[in-house]
């Protein structure tokens, strides 16, 4: 259903009911022409959270909008327009990338993990990923908006460096802005996860 989002303009031109507003508005609105979505479509095949998706999309559709609006995975957030804030961070072929700075078409053929699919990559049985658990235990977030991106940046760090120092953690998340926490509990959360993952040696 979500794949057909741009094709599914299933409405008919309607007249707006003006009974309540007729004193105020001289004219009436009818719907404009339909979107010519079929003209410039691009086909993409992506594996997201271990599920295959085949979609026909606009070339200019950003990866973050594809994930959120087309696939309905709204856990990945948008915090800026200049690729600075990191709230849109996902894992693409294992690397942390800012999905607002990629076109969905550029992700053709790749494997993506969003926050919704992170836990499954670790235990496969529905428990939380240690980084998620760390964020809960150590009060690593307040409003939660930067959190999915921050968790994935933390998970990506621990995948390449299993015993990061505090300054290494701070450097690794310096591409993710947070306005609520002052970063200290985020560092504690990632450190908690590093220790937990080292213990279970996975």
């Amino acid at each position: 259903m979500h794949d057909d989002y741009f094709a599914d303009l299933n409405f008919f031109p309607r007249r707006v009911n003006l009974l309540r507003l007729s004193q105020c508005f001289p004219g009436e609105f009818t719907a404009g022409p339909l979107r010519p979505e079929a003209i410039m479509a691009v086909d993409v095949e992506v594996r997201v959270n271990r599920k295959e998706h085949r979609s026909s999309i606009e070339p200019r559709l950003l990866l973050v909008h594809y994930l959120r609006d087309t696939l309905g995975l709204t856990g990945t957030h948008i915090g800026c327009e200049t690729s600075v804030c990191g709230a849109c961070t996902v894992l693409l072929d294992g690397k942390a990338v800012k999905s607002c700075t990629m076109l969905a078409a550029q992700a053709d053929g790749s494997e993506i993990t969003t926050i919704e699919g992170l836990a499954a990559t670790y235990t496969g049985n529905g428990n939380l990923h240690p980084v998620q658990e760390g964020f809960w235990e150590k009060h690593g977030f307040q409003c939660g908006y930067c959190t999915p991106g921050m968790i994935l940046a933390g998970a990506a760090l621990l995948a390449r460096n299993s015993r990061p120092s505090e300054s290494e953690i701070r450097e690794a998340i310096s591409g993710n802005l947070c306005r609520c926490t002052g970063y200290q509990h985020i560092v504690d959360a990632i450190d908690y996860a590093a220790k937990k993952m080292k213990k279970s040696k996975r």
């Binding site: 022409p33 909008h65 939660g144 908006y145 802005l177 947070c178």
Partner: protein, 695 residues
């Protein structure tokens, strides 16, 4: 006395967290109603201009477009943006949701388009053609209130919004008796709150029931409901405002915005859900800004450091129009200007200035960070000018615990405090005496460490209380279900603080949290670079309910203060263009900018409520900026620097050092008498810093 409970005082993880860490929560843009159409806003690129014609024909026929609306057709249909502040004789600088004859700041909404998806809406915005006749711009508030300034409003004789005065005690007598008068012009710069989630609204109209449902990223759903209903002249009982998960607010979302009324209006007209999501650049331009006060301050003191009285003339830059509380915020600076000191006489004059900028309003601290900055810098200046110690000058002027409840000449009564204790705890915790010894030793080696102090108090619990004449009563319903489970319905609206976890109640009066912070910085005189080395915070929020959450609030507030002190500034150029309008230009602190913050608490319960609590959400943002600035000025003392204006940027420091070096004997020469090695040490420090960066 706080009721006995096994939970109070224990660090507890939050109930609301599981959905947030799994990406399962819903912020406003995550709400996907079938048939939703997207609104986008056409905004003025000019800071001051008359609007000529608006041609909407191309936009109306753009692919996917269903509506284009301009200002004139909404005049009298949607009410002005509400302002709940009432300052005597303030000018009625209210704004229509869409401009009609004039625009007065860059980003002011001029038209809206609605289309079938967000990309089509963005395309249609570009097709609206607006004719503008640019007018002269004024962005400097002191120039704006001077004679001959371009007038923002033809119907007002000048750009002065209001003049507000407060006087308590014998100010004239204090200045007559002064043995030293310490004066300084200080700037508390314009900031942009920048929660990580920009604003957004989804509005849905159900015609058969005449029901309007509005999801909005707001801190004030109840107030928003009342105001939006009023703006639309819609029955209040037919409006439901829902705050979904809100991605931060910090005061920026403690407001009612035009886009909320516009989406609702369009949902009614089009009879389909309408969504508007703010872009980040829109947010920088068009969501409320904070602070922006200039203070000409005089302190009357005795030669032993006792403060006899203070006089302030504040120019507050309000922007072009009022939002919900715009004119009121600077008056909170007036009320708290005495800080944590027993100052018998105070005079405060505030002039609200209208300029071609976005409105200022409440940003975390709302008037109190400004007050605390002014008084804490003033105490350091008194110490400097009288050649006294910064700790002793504070101690001499503190009221004693037995003086509380303490009546301040501004008209407030502080509830309870022990400023001496929090100061003593932070001095011990930071190893203050040792820090001063290290500082002296490092100065002899040509390194400039600064130690800064802030002993702050702030006013809190400003919700329902008998001290406040206006409404806003909190209420709660406790319902016991047939299963025996208890449901508690309260009006509190959370945006990250953890209210699903904490208790709530109504205070009888204001409360006054307080604390003492010490911060250590190192300044590189060759680059002006400021490195934050250590931070120690002792905060007293009365009885501490959940220490884990309290620490989170303190850390977050302190880092926002670091932003104010060292990184952030909303800058408008002479044409009124906001040149710090993206994260690329407006720098908020990142993880690698901050050292580990050491926190501690004293507990001085408030007598004005049964829990004995005072509040802590804004303390860090109020207390920390002066500690940071005091530390930098302290680091630069050997260069004869007495004051640095906010924000402390590298170029400012470099210039101050080099100007001081021109006029006075540079400290290196004095140090060279003791150590011939001074210059090479500076070079080796630079290369070791470069090595550290390469790691």
């Amino acid at each position: 006395m706080a009721p006995a409970s096994p939970y109070i005082g224990r660090p507890m993880t939050r109930k609301e967290d599981p959905r947030l860490i799994q990406g399962l929560s819903h912020y406003v843009d995550d709400i996907q109603l079938p048939g939703t159409h997207f609104m986008a806003v056409v905004r003025s690129p000019y800071a001051h201009a008359r609007i000529g014609s608006i041609d909407t024909s191309k936009a109306k026929s753009a692919p996917g477009a269903v509506a284009v609306v301009t200002g004139p057709e909404l005049h009298g249909v949607i009410g002005v943006i509400p302002c709940a502040a009432q300052i005597p004789d303030m000018k009625p600088a209210f704004r229509e949701v869409l401009a009609t004859d004039k625009v007065r700041f860059v980003g002011e909404p001029v038209a809206v388009v609605v289309a079938s998806d967000r990309y089509a809406a963005g395309d249609a915005v570009d097709l609206v053609e607006v004719e503008y006749e640019p007018l002269p711009v004024v962005v400097d508030p002191e120039k704006a209130i001077a004679k001959g300034a371009p007038r923002l409003y033809d119907q007002f004789e000048d750009n002065v919004s209001y003049r507000w005065e407060l006087e308590g005690g014998d100010v004239a007598g204090a200045f007559k008796a002064a043995e030293k008068i310490v004066s300084q012009r200080m700037v508390n710069q314009r900031l942009i709150p920048v929660p990580m989630e920009p604003r957004g609204v989804v509005a849905e109209y159900i015609p058969g029931e005449n029901q309007l449902n509005i999801w909005t990223s707001t801190q004030i759903p109840h107030l928003a409901r009342t105001q939006i209903a009023a703006m639309l002249n819609f029955p209040e009982d037919g409006v439901r405002v829902i705050a979904p998960e809100v991605g931060g607010g910090f005061g920026a979302k403690l407001n009612v915005y035009g886009e909320e009324a516009l989406t609702a209006h369009l949902a009614i007209r089009l009879e389909r859900p309408v969504k508007w999501i703010e872009g980040r650049r829109e947010h920088f331009q068009c969501t409320i800004h904070g602070r922006d006060e200039i203070n000409y301050m005089d302190v009357a003191a005795k030669s032993d450091g006792t403060v006899l009285g203070i006089r302030c003339r504040v120019i507050a830059d309000l922007g072009a129009y009022y939002q919900l509380l715009t004119p009121m915020i600077p008056t909170l600076t007036g009320l708290m200007i005495c800080g944590s000191y027993k100052i018998p006489a105070v005079r405060m004059e505030i002039i609200g200035a209208l300029t071609n900028k976005m409105a200022t309003d409440a940003y975390r601290g709302a008037g109190r960070p400004e007050a605390t900055y002014f008084i804490e810098r003033a105490m350091d200046l008194v110490a400097h000018d009288l050649k006294k110690d910064v700790v002793e000058v504070r101690r001499i002027n503190f009221p004693k615990p037995k003086d509380f409840p303490y009546a301040v000449p501004t008209g407030l009564t502080y509830d309870s405090a022990n400023y001496q204790k929090s100061l003593a705890v932070v001095l011990k915790m930071s190893g203050y005496t040792k820090l001063r010894a290290e500082q002296a030793a490092l100065r002899r080696k040509g390194r400039y460490i600064g130690i800064g102090l802030s002993t702050y108090v702030e006013i809190c619990a400003m919700g329902p209380s008998s001290a406040m004449p206006a409404g806003g009563w909190e209420s709660a319903t406790v319902r016991i279900e047939p299963t025996g489970k208890v449901n508690i319905l309260t009006g509190s609206s959370m945006h990250g603080q953890g209210q699903e976890t904490t208790h709530f109640f109504e205070p009888a009066n204001f409360t006054f949290p307080f604390g003492a912070h010490v911060c250590v910085v190192e300044v590189d005189p060759e680059t002006g670079d400021v490195k934050l080395e250590k931070y120690f915070a002792v905060d007293d929020c009365g009885n501490a309910i959940n220490p884990l959450l309290i620490d989170g609030q303190v850390h977050g507030g302190i880092v926002q203060s670091v932003g104010q002190a060292l990184f952030e500034e909303a800058v408008y150029d002479s044409e009124g263009q906001l040149i710090t309008g993206e994260f690329t230009d407006y720098a908020i602190p990142r993880a690698h900018d901050i050292p580990r913050i050491r926190t501690n608490r004293t507990v001085t319960p408030s007598p004005v409520n049964p829990m004995g609590v005072k509040g802590v959400g804004e303390a860090g943002t109020i207390g920390a900026t002066p500690a940071l600035v005091n530390a930098v000025v302290d680091a630069l003392a050997p260069f004869g620097v007495r004051h640095v204006d906010l924000p402390i940027k590298r170029e400012k420091i470099w210039r101050l050092i080099h100007e001081a070096s021109k006029s006075a004997k540079p400290p290196e020469k004095a140090a060279a008498k003791k150590s011939a090695k001074a210059p090479p040490k500076a070079a080796s420090r630079k290369s070791s810093k470069a090595k550290a960066r390469r790691k």
